[in-house]
Symmetry: C2
Subunit: 196 residues, 2 copies
DNA sequence: GCCTTAATGCAACTTTCTAGCGTTAGCAGG
DNA sequence: CCTGCTAACGCTAGAAAGTTGCATTAAGGC
């Protein structure tokens, strides 16, 4: 999921990485056009450096988004899976529709890479929530199923339709997802997905 | 959803359109690299013509895909919504994972446009199926909900994860979707989605 | 056949991305 | 403190992708 962007820590490399990241965020905040040239200019760096380090604009944006999303790695706990999911989904929708998502809709930056990263973090969070539920003895569906029932619709509507799912409908989705827990769990042993 | 690509019928324009479309399909079939230059070359046309007519490679591919998908505009009828959905979803997954989808996964052509078109046709088909069900007096969810519960997972996995959903899991999804029919229908009157 | 007009071809041009090469900054060993 | 080593950078040239203006061509109407 986008290369780790390894660098020699603490030195010129780090300085430049920081400068570039800040340039990107500044441009995003200003709602300005986002191009490699503009970023390079603002960060006082040559475009070629950006291409070398990140490979493409998409990956750079992905890298920035990654760092921005990392914070909510520990989703809040409410005591029940349904509650946890509700809170988390609302947060997820909000985050994806303000930061990352806005850029995807607004610009032509059809940035699948960004959505992919968002999905990656979503999965990690959902795993945590499911794990908690299982520890409490609550029935819980596979994180994979939750991805399909919660994250997939959200991302689908955002990327392909340009819509944001509202709280009321979020609730329905969560209800449906939690309700489907045992039934889906039954067949969890037969692999139902294959790599293409 | 991608401009209609209107042309003066029966003349040079049509000839060129056909030549370009065939060039695209030929390249797709050969698993060859797909670039505007190669397409133009094979169709004996200047690249600028392609850019003018279609605007971008993505739109051209979208146009080709559109024509290729149109045939199943009349999905088969089995007598029940669940049956209809099963057959249709299987077809949809197959189509999207062989033609359009392969291109999306294989290449870097992160072609959101294609998926969008596919989704458009999917929606039209689902509407038909739901309409039939309603006519039979069967409870049926909104086409929108079906998009979220069936199409969204399929596309999500395809585009973001590179997976194809198998028949067994398709069945689960369909079961879940049909089961959720009445419950979701209740709240169909309050709009649960807003444009961003 | 002539006229009108949409669409194409051609070529110049801009933008975006890539690659080679010399230079610089950080780091380690003496 | 000096010296050598190397990853990363800046600069520049150039390839590739995409855009635009203008002359030319081919359909269709009269």
């Amino acid at each position: 999921m986008s290369r780790p962007v390894l660098i020699r820590p603490g030195g010129r490399s780090e300085r430049i990485q920081k400068a570039v990241h800040e340039a990107v965020r500044a441009l995003q905040a200003e709602n300005a056009e986002i191009t490699v040239a503009l970023i390079a200019d603002r960060a006082a760096v040559t475009p070629s450096t950006i291409y070398r380090r990140w490979g493409s604009l998409a990956e750079l944006l992905g890298d920035v988004a990654t760092q921005h999303m990392r914070p909510d790695a520990q989703p809040v706990s409410t005591g029940s899976l349904e509650g946890d999911l509700l809170v988390w989904l609302d947060q997820f929708v909000d985050e994806i529709s303000t930061g990352v998502g806005r850029a995807m809709i607004r610009e032509r930056v059809e940035n699948v890479a960004l959505a992919r990263i968002a999905a990656g973090y979503a999965f990690a969070n959902l795993e945590t929530l499911v794990w908690r539920a299982v520890e409490r003895g609550e029935p819980a569906p596979d994180p994979d199923r939750l991805m399909d029932l919660l994250v997939a619709p959200v991302i689908y509507r955002l990327v392909f339709v340009g819509q944001v799912i509202e709280k009321g409908y979020q609730k329905e989705l969560v209800a449906l997802a939690t309700a489907s827990a045992p039934q889906l769990q039954q067949s969890a042993h037969q692999p139902s997905i294959r790599r293409s």
